[in-house]
Symmetry: C2
Subunit: 246 residues, 2 copies
């Protein structure tokens, strides 16, 4: 069982930053090559989900780890507050539209998990609905896996409460980050313990497992995400297809 | 347990045709009124699924039963052979897009059930995949029900082997039905016993129940479908909303 309070948000002590950055660079290049094969072979799909508190560095992970991937084979979808049309459907309706076809990597920056996190923390849904939704998510992700060879890779970006304050403050102090600032983030931060409780519950009840990524140091975040992606894609044993007719 | 071989494809003996037609007409009008409330109240969605062999009268049921419904609140989707893009996704991807938002009745003329019928009969998928898909369908329909107040009404149009021959022949003989004729239908008819076996299995393994509709006489088909719809919609106790501000 995952206990978030027992998992450090920092890199392992003594891990050399420069050396890790070099390894990450090599992994990012390798990911680009693997994605090329994925796109060419059209046998598998890859869904990458990033979840984490405000300031946990979801955008940065997307930017840094996938920089050698070809845009033809990559698509990022950020899920915001649902529209009126989306609200008139079940919570997975807007999500299912954006799952990857074979050959593609789709990245979800936030996802259907918000529907059992923010909605649960604020008690917009009752616990019975939470249970039903968690079960529906499990069935949905398994559907993608068994029926379309979809590799579902989920990353929980594990940030400390202290680091979050620094990250939010930087959105005020750094002119180029002002656009990300939302005064409501401080209010939401007051619900931190409840968010941790709900995240931990979801991490433990997901049948397709999560990777918990310590993100207080961004260089370590990128290393863990890149390593996980490269390992998972290598296990698919992707090959460039040969010419069918000469 | 449903045993198709034990269920008549004909109306109950002694049922008066003229009288039944009159009742159907009243039911069809009533359905129009109920749909009006559904559209106004925006609290529930209705998904109506028609499945049945070639010649079982799916198109006719759609035309006759919903004739008093307002097109604003009604949408029919006929699922044909999947496109290349659809084939590159899980089998529910193309279906989920078309589920009804609150207020609407959506009709599926054929549906996701084809993916455990025609595909199973022809052995394009193995039995393990069939089991996974049936479970995925159950989870999917339950999601629509619990998360969006969707009433899921499924009709299996139960046709006799003998009547199918007459219906297919009529597509040849009747100039206005020629466009429905497909020589492949006779070939598919040879697989009748296997289709019956697969239909029966699906009818019994669905957690949201089916209505088996005897369709050899089309007037009785319409009566059963209209009755089922009206009863189910009446149970929702729909009301026109009142003005919120004066």
């Amino acid at each position: 069982m995952i206990k978030l309070a027992d998992i450090s948000t920092m890199p392992p002590p003594h891990l050399d930053e420069d050396e890790t950055r070099k390894k990450t660079k090599a992994l990012v290049e390798k990911l680009g090559k693997l994605q090329h094969k994925l796109l060419a072979s059209q046998t598998h799909a890859v869904l990458v989900i990033f979840q984490g508190m405000d300031g946990s560095g979801k955008d940065g992970a997307v930017k840094n780890v996938f920089q050698d991937c070809h845009p033809n084979g990559l698509s990022v979808h950020a899920f915001k507050k649902p529209t009126e049309e989306e609200f008139a459907h079940d919570f997975l309706w807007r999500v299912h539209k954006h799952v990857p076809p074979k050959g593609m990597i789709h990245i979800f920056n936030r996802s259907h998990y918000e529907d059992v996190l923010i909605q649960r923390v604020h008690k917009w849904i009752d616990e019975k609905r939470v249970d039903q939704r968690i079960e529906a998510i499990n069935a949905f992700e398994e559907l993608l896996a068994f029926d379309n060879n979809t590799l579902v890779l989920k990353f929980y970006l594990h940030l400390s409460y202290e680091q979050q304050a620094l990250e939010l403050q930087e959105r005020i102090d750094d002119r180029e980050k002002n656009w990300k600032y939302n005064a409501g983030d401080w209010k939401e931060r007051e619900l931190w313990p409840e968010y941790m409780r709900c995240y931990q519950d979801v991490l433990n009840r997901s049948r397709i497992p999560w990777t918990v990524v310590p993100v207080d140091k961004r260089w370590y975040r990128d290393f863990v995400v890149a390593t996980t992606l490269v390992n998972a894609l290598e296990e698919l044993n992707l090959e460039f297809p040969e010419i069918q007719e000469k």
